[in-house]
Symmetry: C3
Subunit: 261 residues, 3 copies
């Protein structure tokens, strides 16, 4: 039933693909600009709800099927009256900022792969994700709103100042400038700017999908001890030890690659 | 009357120039070192008060007329007894840290253009501004105080750790080292280090001076909707749409430049 | 007596050397991997206690005597049952995270010089230090635990997100990737990545050891005025003035070097 509904959803502008039960892709496909039309809001809601309620999904990657654009701003050529005045969600926020908050709070690891313009709502969606990776050649991030006499509505000031400090956050918002990938990395707007060809290689993050289901990010000693006692972890450590873990040699010299395999 | 008082102020060490009612420059002109003499404290106070009480000013840029120096430390050759023991201001802080807090809190966008040494109080003034841009060739920032057995008095520890994290803030303060422009950018001490010839090109920020008067930086959906309803914004969006906004083409491909024009 | 006990400690895996009463080195020397065996926990405790109780020490530098390794993870080949279930310390935390918190809170300036792999507990120790400097050629930092199905136990999520923002902190922890020195600098994981040959040149920080004993990092005007009144500071400023401080010339043009001499 559920899969059926998503098969249907493929004709909409936002496409959900389950690459595995744990690893989902959400692909924005609304050519030519990936502009945000009012009809996309319920689609985003449906996807966030699926992320929140599915019991297996662990990693969601947001990307785009449209060359040059990740997701841009509201379509001011569309009828916007209804959108602006939608009733607030349970938290009291307007549905758009509320969906962003829901995404940030969900236990799923969310990653934005930015290969084109992510401006306005596109920047806000990327900022609501847990991580952001940018194509060095193609990514442009911005909060353009102030340049049009508008105020950004999805909370970028709060998120930007935590990522890059108040001075740079004010610059991004008040200048309304385009921020290309490499500068976005220097400012902390994205985790990293990578050659476009390497961007897909976030597989190490996607590997998180193979983790035991109860990993807690909020690290603490009790969680650490509990994780040691888990049979799956015991087995994993046993395997790692058989392969050279805790002894001089390749395993310890390249531990990051070693545990990633 | 007021203009008259500022014309008079031109003979002092800190010069206020109104390039327009919205855009002011504050130029420190106390050769040869832009050293901070006790007589400058009331001048700074006068300028901060003008910034706080003027109804039109939106952007204030701080710079220097002295080659090689933005603003440095207290003049220890001057009589300092009175300065150290001035009565506290309304907030309970000493007048100097209080003026810095007043500048940070004022709704005006404040920008430091650093083309020389900004050490001690100069660094503290820059840190109290909303943004800082540094000349790659000429800027040097530092909190030199600990090197002289002194404690910095204008609160740099609080501001530096929010900009660059605790480890780097401790290094800047405890090492008392000179920090040149490019390193200052890597540490987040300044927004960006730019070739000296490009530094003046902060016009995009100065353009903020043309914004509607009620732009709120604290972005939220309600402020966003309110901004959409503003007649000036409606007109601006109409103009942008006529020029290609929301349609494929140059406007969307270079949105940052487009809205900046 | 005390020195005697530290002479004895030289046969253990963690060596304390007093280069002067104010400047100590703590050297991890447990070849071939500097792996963390359960027997090291009381040794770390002894050193942290010495740091907390000594009245003269001002700077403690942590380094390694083992080529290629700073300090790595728990030795899973050792008997760990006792370690995991040690009674909590006074704060209620397990002894390991508690020792790290005690180090961070001590008034001593703590510096990690990272010339090899600092993974797991090694990364946690470095993060608990006030500052971290990395060898460009040799340093590798990581929290590898999630890659082994484990949760890090020494609180890296809290410390990493304050240093590099939430997005990058999540990436470091969830990817479990090796982070080489230069990337560690770009992420804010370390203060700076330096050529290995220059790493020892943190002498400016070690100079802090010559500071008056009551310097307060939490800078404020009252502390500043108090520091001015100190006879040692008065003498220092007098000497600096005699050498050109507050006058045009070399002293002011290179103030960082000048006060550092």
């Amino acid at each position: 039933m559920k899969d059926q509904s998503y098969a249907a959803a493929k004709t909409t502008q936002i496409r959900l693909t389950r690459r595995s039960p744990e690893y989902w892709r959400v692909t924005i496909d609304h050519p030519p600009l990936n502009i945000f039309g009012p009809e996309m809001l319920p689609q985003v809601n449906e996807i966030i709800t699926a992320i929140e309620t599915d019991e297996k999904v662990k990693v969601v990657v947001f990307d785009s099927a449209v060359e040059g654009f990740f997701l841009i701003h509201l379509d001011f050529l569309a009828k916007l009256d209804d959108l602006a005045h939608l009733p607030p969600g349970p938290s009291g926020l307007h549905p758009w900022p509320e969906m962003l908050v829901r995404l940030s709070r969900s236990p799923v690891v969310s990653i934005a792969l930015i290969r084109g313009r992510a401006t306005g709502m596109g920047s806000e969606l990327a900022l609501a994700c847990d991580m952001r990776f940018a194509s060095r050649e193609k990514a442009i991030l911005s909060q353009f709103e102030v340049g049009a006499g508008l105020v950004p509505g999805g909370g970028p000031m709060a998120r930007l100042s935590r990522l890059m400090g108040r001075g740079r956050a004010l610059e991004v918002i008040l200048s309304a400038n385009d921020v290309p990938g490499d500068l976005a990395e220097r400012y902390g707007y994205v985790n990293r700017s990578l050659p476009d060809a390497d961007l897909e290689d976030t597989k190490r993050l996607v590997n998180v999908a193979s983790l035991p289901p109860d990993i807690e990010i909020e690290s603490g000693w009790n969680a650490c001890v509990a994780s040691m006692a888990r049979p799956a972890t015991q087995q994993r450590i046993k395997t790692l030890l058989e392969r050279g873990f805790c002894k001089p040699g390749d395993a310890e010299n390249h531990l990051g690659d070693f545990v990633g395999r």
